[in-house]
């Protein structure tokens, strides 16, 4: 197992190197000019050119990529073109809100989606199943920002139960922290709940038709134990896979959710960086997200061994 973890960890290096080259190349050929944005609308073409030179943006691709790669190898992601602040500092400022949002969304989604999926499979074809699956279709169909605006209107503006926007660090207390995350997590989790619930239902339906389930029922085991102890455990591998894949979905959704709820997280940082063509910042964020995604996949692979003893590395 340790050897496997080590091997997988080492395998992240070429993956990250490829991501770095890909992102750098993509940004190099993409249109847009940070110097023009910095200089402002009133700047003369000469001023824009001077700023471009001072930022080193007139240098050839190979020289810029080599310099940046060496920096990254030293653990330095460079400095933001716009703020002049280190990319690592900017990312560090924004990690807590995004991680908080993702954790709350993940917990909420799992707590809601898995029981829904299990019950839907158990009552397959019944009104409960149809109701839950209708909800899932809605979750897939309604965009995150629509759900977000509706939630903010009802629960913040009309009922005044929760704030419209912002983020409070957990260091200022659990409720102030949670208060700002409830609506965004519901909005972001809507599609995620739909996804997990549908997969849970599908895999549970397959497991529930197995002989050992019939045996469990025949020996008089209660329905709850059959569903959650026997069936769900055996259906868990695809569900865990989807939860893992869904992390990427969450990262994408966080970009929109953070904008709608004005949460100062990595999603908004990404958008701002792209709009301004803040190349070092975009590169840093993409590298970090790629690394996180590789780690999530590794974690998912390791969790398989816990739920299915037949899987060994």
């Amino acid at each position: 197992m340790l050897g496997y973890v080590l091997k997988r960890t080492l395998a992240t290096i070429p993956v990250m190197a490829f991501v770095a080259l890909f992102v750098f190349s993509l940004l190099y050929i993409a249109p847009g000019d940070p110097a023009a944005v910095i200089a402002g609308d009133q700047a003369s073409p000469e001023d824009v050119e001077k700023i471009r030179k001072s930022l080193g943006l007139d240098r050839p691709f190979v020289a810029r990529f080599a310099e940046w790669s060496l920096q990254v190898l030293r653990g330095d992601l460079g400095r933001s073109i716009f703020t002049g602040l280190p990319v690592t500092e900017l990312i560090a400022q924004r990690i807590e809100p995004t991680v908080s949002l993702m954790i709350v969304t993940l917990i909420l989604s799992i707590l809601v989606a898995i029981p829904i999926g299990v019950v839907a499979a158990w009552r397959a074809g019944g009104w409960l199943d149809r109701g839950f699956m209708g909800f899932a279709v809605l979750g897939f169909s309604v965009p995150v920002f629509v759900v977000g605006y509706l939630l903010a209107y009802v629960f913040a503006l009309e009922l005044d139960w929760l704030p419209v926007q912002g983020y409070t660090p957990i260091s200022k207390g659990l409720w102030p922290w949670l208060e700002n995350l409830i609506l965004p997590a519901i909005a972001l989790g809507f599609v995620y709940i739909a996804l997990i619930a549908r997969i849970t239902r599908a895999t549970m339906l397959e497991v529930l038709s197995q002989d050992y389930i019939r045996t469990a029922r025949a020996k008089g085991l209660g329905e709850t134990a059959v569903l959650f102890m026997h069936a769900l455990k055996n259906a868990s591998v695809p569900i865990i896979t989807v939860i893992g894949i869904g992390v990427a979905l969450l990262i994408g959704g966080a970009v929109v959710t953070e904008s709608v709820f004005a949460i100062p997280g990595l999603g908004r940082l990404t958008i701002d960086a792209i709009v301004r063509r803040d190349y070092p910042l975009i590169q840093g964020i993409v590298l970090m997200f790629s690394f996180v995604y590789v780690l999530v996949n590794l974690a998912v692979d390791l969790i398989y061994t816990l739920v299915d003893p037949r899987i060994r590395y």
Binding site: T83, S171, K172, P176
Partner: protein, 537 residues
């Protein structure tokens, strides 16, 4: 929806939640702000992505900078420069030597006194970037500190607009920094944010794209005059001003209605009716100097290198269509502007603006195109879709050009790409462009000082590179004009010649609102959001 009760349901919920928080977090978290501190929560027009008002000339940077850095002069609501850091000035009888004396008690945020050498270094950096500064630099003989409080600027020829140059609101503003910071290359960003203005920049709390915090500078000595725009006493009644960045207008609107923010600089016109219905919110025009929409043409390449084709568009263009697309049906928010200058200001003129007045003549435009031999060359319209103002103008333009028989190559893109592409002098089909839209702040268009769009210096002119030496010569005369009548006469000529040359096509004059909670008082419309004299009940 109204929120007049002092204890909201959320406050009650917070009270219950606090018990859980205490248990979970193991005790009360330390408050970030001192008890009883007065805080103003402000949502600016854009993200404060950098904080160097000379390096980055975006308006949002200037607006934030006026809290942290002070200026020698500042314009009042008549656009007249008034003394700010300066106690007195003297100009020699030949107009060549200016001597300035700083007022007493000026200190930087690090406790060091403001000295003449700091001013000299700051003006040197500013004059490398600012159009008026560059003019001064070109005729500069000497800029030196005479003693700690006095500095001298010796010129090779008189420059009557000296005080306006030092006090104007247009970017870049001549902010004064400590010498060690001001010695930074003007094309590189400063890394220390020490000023002598009424607020200190809380660098540790700066989260670009999310939050910028300014804390009261206790040692600031404001002038005794009442604050008015960038002049007078810079009295701040808050311990802390938080700039909260909200890219989504719907969120900002909801936050203002919910009392989570105090002041929103630029409410979207679509959301104004909702805000007007809320009795806890006040709205007024943000800046009476407003903005002038712009249809910028590329004079370097076909088809707009032919003045007849430029005129064809000019006589067909309806400013009303553009303005309604930008601000909607609120007729208080726009007016026609057959001029390159800001309506309602001293130098405004409509001389030569006839082609933009009266019934729009599509047939005459078609005829002009035919005369010019227009043969269907595509007009590459590079239109930023991420800016509501440019997007709205672009849609009208595509329709207009098609109506008069032109072929439209509509490039829908973002502002970052427009910024890059408009700098390209290539042919439109090879990475260049035919036209793009933008808008100019009215405060920049009150005179030729910040009105770079009217310049016609060919390859040295602003994007589009209009070339007309006669207009340039006329603008140069304005800088030497000594009386208002003289200035008016010159700018009438500039407007007439510019309209004939179709330097660019103004698409109209428009205003925007600002909105704030009704417990805030003292907010005055102006070219920048002014925090001086503002109070919170």
């Amino acid at each position: 929806m109204e929120h007049s009760v002092s204890i909201s349901r959320r406050t009650v919920l917070k009270g219950f939640g606090a018990t859980g928080a205490l248990t979970a977090a193991g005790g009360l978290a330390a408050p970030a702000i001192a008890q009883g501190a007065s805080v103003l929560k402000f949502v600016p027009q854009a993200n404060l992505a950098n904080f160097d008002p000379i390096w980055g000339t975006q308006y949002v940077v200037r607006n934030a900078s006026q809290l942290v850095w002070d200026t020698l002069y500042g314009v009042d609501d008549k656009l007249q420069p008034q003394r700010q850091m300066v106690e007195s000035e003297e100009v020699s009888s030949d107009g060549l030597t200016w001597t300035f004396k700083l007022r007493s008690g000026l200190k930087f945020h690090d406790g060091e006194p403001v000295l003449a050498k700091d001013v000299v270094a700051s003006l040197t950096r500013w004059s490398a970037r600012d159009p008026m500064g560059l003019m001064l630099k070109a005729i500069q003989q000497e800029l030196t500190a005479v003693d700690d409080k006095t500095f001298k600027w010796v010129l090779s020829r008189p420059y009557p607009k000296m005080l306006l140059a030092l006090g104007k609101a247009g970017t870049p503003v001549a902010f004064i920094m400590p010498e060690r910071i001001a010695k930074t290359d003007p094309f590189k960003q400063i890394e220390e944010y020490i000023g002598s203005g009424p607020m200190k920049f809380a660098r540790g709390e700066w989260k670009p794209g999310a939050l910028a915090v300014f804390e009261k500078f206790k040692d600031y000595v404001p002038r005794s005059e009442a604050p008015m725009w960038l002049s007078g006493g810079k009295i701040v009644n808050f311990d802390r001003i938080e700039w909260i960045i909200m890219p989504d207008p719907a969120t900002a609107s909801a936050a203002l209605q919910n009392g989570e923010i105090d002041w929103w600089e630029t409410p979207l016109s679509d959301l104004v009716p909702v805000l007007k219905k809320n009795r806890n919110i006040k709205l007024d025009i943000a800046d009476p100097l407003g903005n002038i929409g712009s249809f910028r043409l590329n004079h370097m390449h076909p088809p707009f290198n032919d003045v007849r084709i430029r005129r064809a568009v000019q006589i067909a263009l309806s400013q009303e269509d553009y303005m309604r697309a930008i601000v909607g049906d609120d007729t208080n928010l726009w007016k026609p502007c057959p001029s390159f200058f800001t309506p309602g200001t001293a130098l405004y003129t409509e001389t030569g603006g006839e082609p933009l007045k009266g019934k729009r003549d599509i047939e005459a435009a078609k005829k002009l195109l035919k005369e010019a031999g227009y043969a269907g060359q595509p007009v590459t319209c590079v239109v930023a879709q991420d800016q509501p103002i440019t997007k709205a103008q672009g849609e009208i333009t595509a329709d207009l050009l098609k109506k008069i028989g032109m072929t439209v190559d509509f490039v829908a893109t973002d502002w970052g790409t427009v910024g890059q592409r408009r700098a390209s002098k290539n042919e439109p089909g090879k990475g260049g462009w035919g036209m793009f839209h933008t808008w100019h702040a009215g405060s920049d268009c009150v005179s030729p000082v910040g009105n770079i769009a009217i310049r016609t210096g060919g390859e040295k002119a602003w994007f589009g590179w209009p070339d007309n030496p006669a207009i340039e010569a006329e603008i140069s005369k304005w800088y030497d004009a000594k009386t208002l009548d003289e200035e008016k006469a010159i700018l009438s000529n500039v407007n007439k010649m510019g309209m004939e040359h179709v330097t660019y096509i103004p698409t109209g004059f428009f205003l925007t609102y600002q909105a704030w909670r009704s417990n805030i008082s003292g907010i005055v419309g102006g070219p920048t959001p002014s925090f001086f004299g503002v109070k919170k009940a």
